[in-house]
């Protein structure tokens, strides 16, 4: 199991936004988190990548306790694409290089970063500053960082929202390729129909503070 928890609870300002029981995501699965706005999808996504400390949880990540923030070893296995990625200062290529660890030369890392950008069809953006990109382009850049990291577990928050057809095709191809290679994908969506055909497992999050079920 990539993730396992008997319970995950979180509240904001005393309002319970998440209360899940028996949550588990198998290795190599395409797991969808479906629910309306305000159902806690982004909250759960952030908990799953160690950006948010839940109010109460016994979450394990790949069999190990999941601290906040995650350990470097745990983080190296994860890639997160936020619903609205924040543009990093500087140029796209340099920021994709940021995601690549190891002791390779800068030139080698840049070549790898450019390959990842080209794979998603956005190699032409390499020299642009991130501040000049649209939300859709930022998502693809964020996804290219996921590719560059070589992470086997992707958590994608509403990846298909706001994107045009070409963006969706690029994303579909990247996700399918990653999954064929044995990677795990956790994806949130407020539109159940659009992801139900894609996912092999799904969790419906109810609105507000009711309990979710697998």
């Amino acid at each position: 199991m990539v993730y396992r928890a008997s319970r995950i609870v979180h509240s904001f300002d005393g309002r319970r936004v998440l209360d899940l029981q028996d949550f588990h995501v198998p290795q190599g699965s395409r797991f969808a988190l479906i629910g309306p706005n305000g159902s806690g999808k982004t909250t759960l996504s952030e908990i799953l990548v160690g950006l948010l400390s839940p109010e109460a949880a016994d979450l394990t990540f790949c069999g190990q306790p999941a601290p906040v923030p995650f350990t470097a070893a745990q983080r190296s296995r994860l890639a997160y694409v936020a619903q609205q990625p924040f543009p990093l200062p500087g140029r796209v290529l340099g920021n994709v290089v940021l995601a690549i660890g190891g002791n390779d030369s800068r030139g080698e890392k840049e070549r790898r970063a450019l390959d990842c950008l080209n794979e998603l069809g956005i190699g032409r953006l390499a020299g642009q500053t991130e501040r000049t990109l649209s939300v859709g382009q930022l998502r693809l850049v964020s996804l290219s960082r996921a590719l560059a990291r070589g992470a086997d577990i992707w958590v994608l928050d509403e990846p298909f929202a706001f994107g045009d057809e070409s963006f969706k095709r690029s994303l579909d191809v990247a996700i399918a390729k990653h999954n064929r290679a044995g990677g795990t994908i956790v994806m949130t969506s407020c539109r159940g129909t659009s992801v139900s055909k894609w996912a092999d497992e799904a969790l419906e999050l109810p609105p507000g503070n009711q309990r979710g079920t697998v």
Binding site: L51, R75, Q84, P85, L88, L98, A99, S142, R145
Partner: protein
């Protein structure tokens, strides 16, 4: 007027600039990492720590002077360093004055950066030092404003410079200590002239910082 346009005036300007510049470099090197740490961590007492730094921005320079004097004088614990009445002692006093101002204003600037930037970098696995560098770049206008404000404070202070430097001619005489001395001697013209010169130098430095900010936009 001859006393004003002299090599000695230039030397006094140089001592002032050298002392304040060293203090600002030291206070920035210490203060900006502390600000990054304070703004990036939730810990018990964080609010109290930030309040303490805010309070210390009003630290009286004569108090810093007395404090360091009691540590640096010949029979004091740090007397063996023989720093008293040297420009490094003045610079040390100014560093103590500038440090809380840089921390306090930099924390405010860093807290204004978008929380999503921090999250994006954590999710990317960006190293701590690299993340700090990116956050400082993101908050550069506020951080630079903190450095400028701190420079203004130390460049124009007289209390600790007088106590720790001793206003020694050709050694620790600064623009402010000279103004105080000349005014006490009744040389108001020279005192005023040096005062305007001090303002002119401060203006030139601020224009330089402003250009730097514009260039980075």
């Amino acid at each position: 007027m001859n006393a004003f346009f002299s090599a000695e005036t230039l030397q006094i300007c140089f001592v002032s600039l050298k002392t304040s510049a060293a203090a600002i470099v030291a206070a920035s090197a210490l203060g900006i990492p502390v600000a990054l740490w304070s703004s990036g961590h939730d810990f018990a007492g964080r609010g109290a720590l930030v309040t303490a730094f805010n309070t210390l921005t009003a630290l009286p320079s004569v108090f810093v002077g007395v404090l360091l004097y009691s540590l640096l004088s010949r029979s004091a614990p740090l007397g063996s360093l023989e720093l008293l009445y040297t420009w490094p002692a003045m610079s040390l006093g100014q560093t103590i004055l500038a440090f809380p101002l840089i921390v306090s204003l930099s924390v405010a600037a860093l807290n204004r950066t978008d929380v999503r930037l921090r999250k994006e970098m954590i999710a990317l696995g960006v190293g701590r030092w690299h993340m700090g560098w990116i956050l400082v770049k993101e908050a550069r206008f506020g951080v630079l404003a903190a450095v400028v404000a701190a420079f203004g404070r130390v460049f124009t202070e007289v209390g600790s410079a007088l106590m720790l430097g001793g206003n020694i001619r050709h050694a620790t005489r600064t623009m402010t200590t000279t103004i105080a001395m000349e005014t006490s001697k009744g040389n108001f013209e020279l005192g005023l002239g040096l005062g305007f010169l001090l303002l002119g130098v401060a203006l030139a430095i601020n224009i330089g910082f402003h250009r730097l900010q514009e260039a980075k936009t």
